[in-house]
Symmetry: C2
Subunit: 217 residues, 2 copies
DNA sequence: ATAAACGGACAGTACTACTATCCAAAGAAG
DNA sequence: CTTCTTTGGATAGTAGTACTGTCCGTTTAT
């Protein structure tokens, strides 16, 4: 199939396909002549992935490129790509932010919670840095209820992660498995956030009899 | 205090403070003369909120403005503001997307899961639309493991939301309470996602003996 | 009295994600 | 075989976001 059909099949504009090709999100088609190429079902699927990651997962084009590179290349560690995938990674470039007492206290809080749960995680995981950043920010805002919920969040996420990891084991070829992990992680973030909003609506209705903070639309 | 000090105290540049004032994220200071104003602790706190929502929560300036407007004005329903706060709200403007069979099937899946859990939620909650969108996207990608995890996600988020709502009841004045809800919801999304990544690392290490998908950095 | 700070307006910048135009070569249709 | 459309590739332009810089006429501190 040629680009025109690829565009029609995927619903992505020709101009955008050319853009994704340039940016390395979509692998080049197979050459049939020095300046002509054909595309296959893999390209259609890849375009669907790209749109899902960008539109639903909220990734940037650059983050999508990195994540998909990790899917393709077994050499790129997946957690590095998934780290970049979390939009709010609070890049460790902000040295001044990480060098104060609030930050250190937040890091101790997280380390203690992780130890208590018996988690084996490394502080090289970008998520560690993000979590510490959120805790520190919350502390600076004065209310520290969030860090009080940390244990709860960890318990809930451990249960979720356990099932997710179990579901991913023995899935056939490596590419398919990694793709499943990526999509599940990125789209899962969005779904979890949405489900949390729904649960909050249900719980505030149940616990308060009515919902003073969120009147029915 | 005047802007100079406000800038020093909050760590936000003068130019950005002027920008936030223009955009309505920061209320104007109290006038001391036709073209002079003073600012108080409330402004320092507000600036910290703004930076937290933008830098840590990943909100846009416009979303931050809406969310803070809901904190200030009891007339604006909170769930509307928090809906806009979820970056990936998949605005209901995409009529074509919502009019196909995949979308309808995803909506039935969610409705069934919600009924089974006995949740009282309305499909006017923006999160409903987001959740359906994620489910539909996942279905279009071919793997439907995510919707298989839906029940698990709902159980986990119900437990989380229950504690969160309980923690927020009886908190003093309305403004403080609403602020707590907003910060907890927005920063909570980021924290939950980070904790999930950490849990995934722990679980893949525990269940697989080692971590083939995410070699240690 | 003089220098610094202020408010307000507005132009400019860097980045992101496309979108449009142009061209020469390749394919398809009559 | 010619004409029309499509393609690949390069490059320029656009719209939106989040600032940043500059100017100007007060205003306030020293």
């Amino acid at each position: 199939m040629r680009v025109g059909e690829l565009s029609r099949r995927s619903g992505v504009s020709l101009a955008s396909i050319k853009y994704y090709l340039r940016e390395g999100l979509l692998p080049p088609g197979e050459r049939t002549s020095p300046n002509q190429a054909t595309y296959d079902e893999g390209h259609v699927h890849r375009l669907r992935m790209v749109r899902a990651l960008i539109d639903v997962g909220g990734l940037t084009v650059a983050a999508t490129r990195d994540v998909l590179a990790a899917v393709d290349d077994p050499e790129v560690p997946l957690y590095v790509a998934l780290g970049r995938a979390s939009g709010t990674t609070m890049d460790p470039g902000d040295q001044d932010e990480t060098q104060d007492e609030t930050w250190a206290a937040a890091e101790r809080t997280l380390a203690a919670a992780v130890d208590e749960r018996g988690w084996a995680v490394s502080d090289e995981n970008p998520a560690w840095h993000t979590a510490v950043g959120v805790l520190a920010t919350y502390a600076r805002l004065g209310d520290d209820d969030l860090s009080a919920q940390l244990g709860l969040y960890m318990r809930a996420m451990e249960e979720v992660a356990e099932r997710e990891v179990a579901a991913v084991v023995d899935r056939g070829d490596r590419a398919r498995t990694v793709e499943g992990v990526v999509v599940g992680t990125v789209l899962g973030d969005t779904l979890l956030a949405a489900v949390r909003r729904l649960a909050q609506q249900h719980c505030s209705l149940r616990l308060l009899g009515e919902t003073p903070l969120r009147p029915r639309g």
